[in-house]
C-alpha cells in the first residue's frame, strides 16, 4: 500500500525487533572500526604488523630484566648465566643502585627526609587546588606552601621565607591603606611597588635581625647540590604555580585600553615567544652576572625558575587571550550592567569562563614547561635525563649502559605528563555547564 498518496491511519504499533547480526556486538564493532573499507583494512593489517614487530623486538629484552647487580659487567654475567651467552637483557639494577642519585642528585644523604617531606606536603598543598571537594580551608596551607617548601629544600634561617611571605602581607596592607585615599590605580601601583621595595632592601636585614634574636635554622643546602627529580620538580612546579597568574595578568594587560600597559604586555610576550628557552637560560646563568653588582650571590636555581616562569607565562598569556577572545561581548556587558567593577567582573565572570576554554592549551604549556626543565643541563645543573645519567654512565661500574636510564627517566616524565593531561580532561568535563 502506498501511504504517501492515500489517507492512512495506523491502527496498531509495530513491535520492536532485534537487530540483524551485523548490527550488533563484536562483529559490528570490527567491521565498523577495523575493516570499514579496503584502505581501512590494509591500514589495520599494517598497524598490527608494526605493533607485532615492535613487541617481538622489545619483549625478549624486557623479559630478561635484572634488578639486582652492582655493576654493568656483573649484570651482563647474570644475564649470561640465566639465559645463556650472547642474549641481551635489561639491566634495571642501575636504577635500583642509583635511585637516590636520580631522585636527589648530590643532595646531602642525611637530609633526604627534607625533600621527601617537602614532596608529601606539596601533595597536600596541591590537592585542594585540584579537587574542590576537599575542604576550602586547606587552601590556606597551599598559599604558604611555597615558603615551607623553600625552607625545607634549601634550609637556612626560617626568617628568610617568613620575610618573603611578609612582602605579600605588605602589598595587601598597601592596597588597604592607599585605596580609600587615592583610588584603585594608585593602589594597584602601591600593591606592586611596596613588596618589591621590601624584598629588595628591607627583607634581608629584617631576616638577619630576627635570626640574631630568635635563631631557628635548618642546615643550608646549596643549589649546586640539587639534581635529579627534585630539581625537575622544584623548577617544574614553581614554574607552573607562578606562570599561570603572571600569564593571566599579561593576557589582561594585552587586552587593556591603557596604552602603556598594553604595549608593555605585547612587547614582553612577543619578545619572550621569539627567543628560544635556552637563550633565556644562558642569559640567566651567564649574562646576568655581568649586570649584577660583583659579589652578588643570586641563586642559580632561582634565576632559572624566573626565566622558566617568564617563558611559560608568555605562552599562557596567548592561550588565555584566545579564551578571552572566545567570550561573547555580552558577558562583559552583563557584568558591567550589574555594577561589578573591572576586577570583580574578571574574577567572577570573565576568567572562570576564559580559563575553562583555555584548559587544554594551558595544560599543554605546563606539560611543555615540565619537560623543558631538562634543559637546565645546559647551564650546569644536573637534570635527571642528561645530567644524572651522564654522571651514572661516567662511573666505572655502569660505563656503557645506554637504554635503561633513559627509558626510566622518560617513563617518570611520561607518568607525570600523562597525569596532567588526564586531569585536564577531567576538569574539562567537570566544568562543562553549557549543555551544548
Amino acid at each position: 500500500m502506498n501511504t504517501s498518496t492515500s489517507t492512512f491511519v495506523r491502527t496498531e504499533m509495530l513491535p520492536e525487533q532485534a537487530p540483524p547480526l551485523t548490527e550488533a556486538g563484536a562483529v559490528k564493532w570490527v567491521r565498523e572500526n577495523l575493516f570499514s573499507s579496503i584502505l581501512n583494512g590494509i591500514l589495520t593489517v599494517l598497524g598490527i604488523v608494526v605493533v607485532a614487530y615492535l613487541v617481538i623486538g622489545i619483549a625478549p629484552w624486557l623479559s630478561r630484566s635484572v634488578w639486582n647487580a652492582g655493576s654493568l659487567s656483573e649484570c651482563r654475567q647474570i644475564i649470561a648465566d640465566r639465559w645463556g651467552e650472547g642474549v641481551t637483557g635489561a639491566c634495571w639494577a642501575v636504577i635500583r643502585e642509583r635511585w637516590p642519585q636520580y631522585l636527589f642528585g648530590f643532595y646531602p644523604s642525611h637530609l633526604y627526609w627534607r625533600p621527601v617531606l617537602a614532596f608529601v606536603l606539596l601533595c597536600v598543598a596541591v590537592a585542594p587546588v585540584l579537587f574542590d571537594r576537599l575542604p576550602r580551608k586547606m587552601l590556606w596551607f597551599s598559599l604558604i606552601y611555597p615558603a615551607v617548601g623553600f625552607w625545607l629544600l634549601w634550609g637556612g634561617s626560617v626568617w628568610v621565607p617568613v620575610m618573603a611571605v611578609a612582602g605579600f602581607a605588605i602589598g595587601y596592607a598597601a592596597v588597604k591603606v592607599v585605596q580609600p585615599v587615592a583610588g584603585t590605580i594608585l593602589a594597584t601601583i602601591a600593591a606592586v611597588l611596596a613588596p618589591v621595595l621590601w624584598w629588595l632592601f628591607l627583607a634581608g636585614p629584617a631576616a638577619d635581625a630576627l635570626q640574631s634574636i630568635l635563631p631557628i635554622a635548618l642546615q643550608g643546602v646549596r643549589s649546586r647540590e640539587f639534581g635529579g627529580f627534585i630539581l625537575a620538580f622544584t623548577i617544574g612546579f614553581t614554574g607552573i604555580a607562578f606562570s599561570l597568574p603572571l600569564g593571566v595578568m599579561l593576557a589582561l594587560g594585552r587586552q587593556s585600553d591603557m596604552f602603556i600597559v598594553n604595549k608593555l604586555s605585547v612587547g614582553f610576550i612577543e619578545f619572550i615567544r621569539g627567543v628560544p628557552l635556552i637563550t633565556l637560560l644562558f642569559t640567566a646563568s651567564l649574562l646576568l652576572n655581568y649586570f649584577l653588582p660583583p659579589g652578588t650571590d643570586f641563586d642559580i636555581i632561582l634565576r632559572v625558575i624566573i626565566m622558566v616562569v617568564l617563558f611559560a607565562a608568555a605562552y599562557i598569556a596567548e592561550v588565555v587571550r584566545g579564551g578571552l577572545a572566545a567570550l561573547p561581548r555580552g558577558q562583559y556587558e552583563a557584568a558591567d550592567a550589574l555594577g561589578l567593577d573591572y576586577w570583580k567582573a574578571q574574577r567572577l565572570i570573565i576568567m572562570p569562563q576564559a580559563l575553562k576554554i583555555s584548559i587544554p592549551g594551558i595544560v599543554s604549556t605546563f606539560i611543555g614547561l615540565f619537560k623543558d626543565t631538562t634543559l637546565v643541563v645546559f647551564v650546569g645543573l644536573l637534570d635527571p635525563l642528561k645530567g644524572i645519567t651522564d654522571a651514572v654512565r661516567a662511573s666505572t661500574d655502569w660505563k656503557g649502559i645506554y637504554w635503561e636510564p633513559y627509558i626510566f627517566v622518560g617513563a617518570i616524565f611520561f607518568l607525570f605528563c600523562f597525569g596532567m593531561s588526564r586531569y585536564s580532561m577531567y576538569l574539562e568535563s567537570k566544568l562543562k555547564t553549557d549543555h551544548r
Binding site: G330, D336, L338, G339, D341, L348, I349, H435
Partner: protein, 267 residues
Amino acid sequence: MSEATALDLTARQIDPSQMKVSDEVAIQITQMNKWYGTFHVLRDINMTVNRGERIVICGPSGSGKSTLIRCINRLEEHQQGQIIVDGTELTSDLKNIDKVRSEVGMVFQHFNLFPHLTILENLTLAPIWVRKTPKKEAEEVAMHYLRKVKIPEQANKYPGQLSGGQQQRVAIARSLCMKPRIMLFDEPTSALDPEMIKEVLDTMIELAEEGMTMLCVTHEMGFAQAVANRVIFMDQGQIVEQNNPKEFFNNPQSDRTKLFLSQILGH
C-alpha cells in the same frame, strides 16, 4: 496584523493611563550627542523620564535606539551633552558609573546569563559582590524573584538547560535582585521564538503594573499599547516623534512614523 499585536495582551485589562506616574524625574537627558568614530549615531537627544513611566522606544534598525538606552547605564559613552540618572550625572568618574549601574537594571536581547553559574548563582552574584548582601539573604531574595517570574524550580540548573523564554525571565529576575529603580530592556523578545515571547512580555507587564520605571526598546507594538504611557519613535539617531500610544498608533504625525508603522503593522 503582525504577530506582535496579535498577542493577546490587552486581555489583561489594564489601562496604561490609569497607572500612576510621579512628577519626580528619574532620567534627564539634555542635548546628548554620540559618535562612533566619525559616524554621528545620536543627535541632540533631549528626553525626560519621570519615575513610574513606561516608555517604549521603536524605530528602524540602525536608528540608534539601542545605543540610546545603552548610554543610560554607560555601556556606551556619550561625547556631548548631559545624562543624569537618579540625580547622578554620568561622566568618566567610575564611582558615578558604578552607582548608576547598580541602580539601573538592564535586560539584553541575548539574555547574557553567565553560563558557568547556576540560575541561583546568577541571581545572587551581584547582590553579594556589589551590595555586600549576606549570601543567605541574597538567596532568599533570588528565590522570591524566581517565583515571581514563575520558574523557582529551575534554581539549581544552568542557563544552558533552560529555554530562551525561561532564560530571559531569569535575566529579568537577575536585574530585579539588585532592587533597581529603573529597568532598561534592549529588544528583550527579539531573540525568542513566538511562543516564548508572551511569557516574557507577561513578566514585563507585571513589572509595569508595580510601578517600575521602564525604558523598553522593542518592536512588540501590542506591548506598547498595553503598558506604555509614551512611545518614542527614532530614526537616524534622532527622536522623530513621541506621543501616548493611542495617538501614536492611531494618529501619527510625521511621514517617517507613518511609513514605519505601515511597514510593521500592515501586512
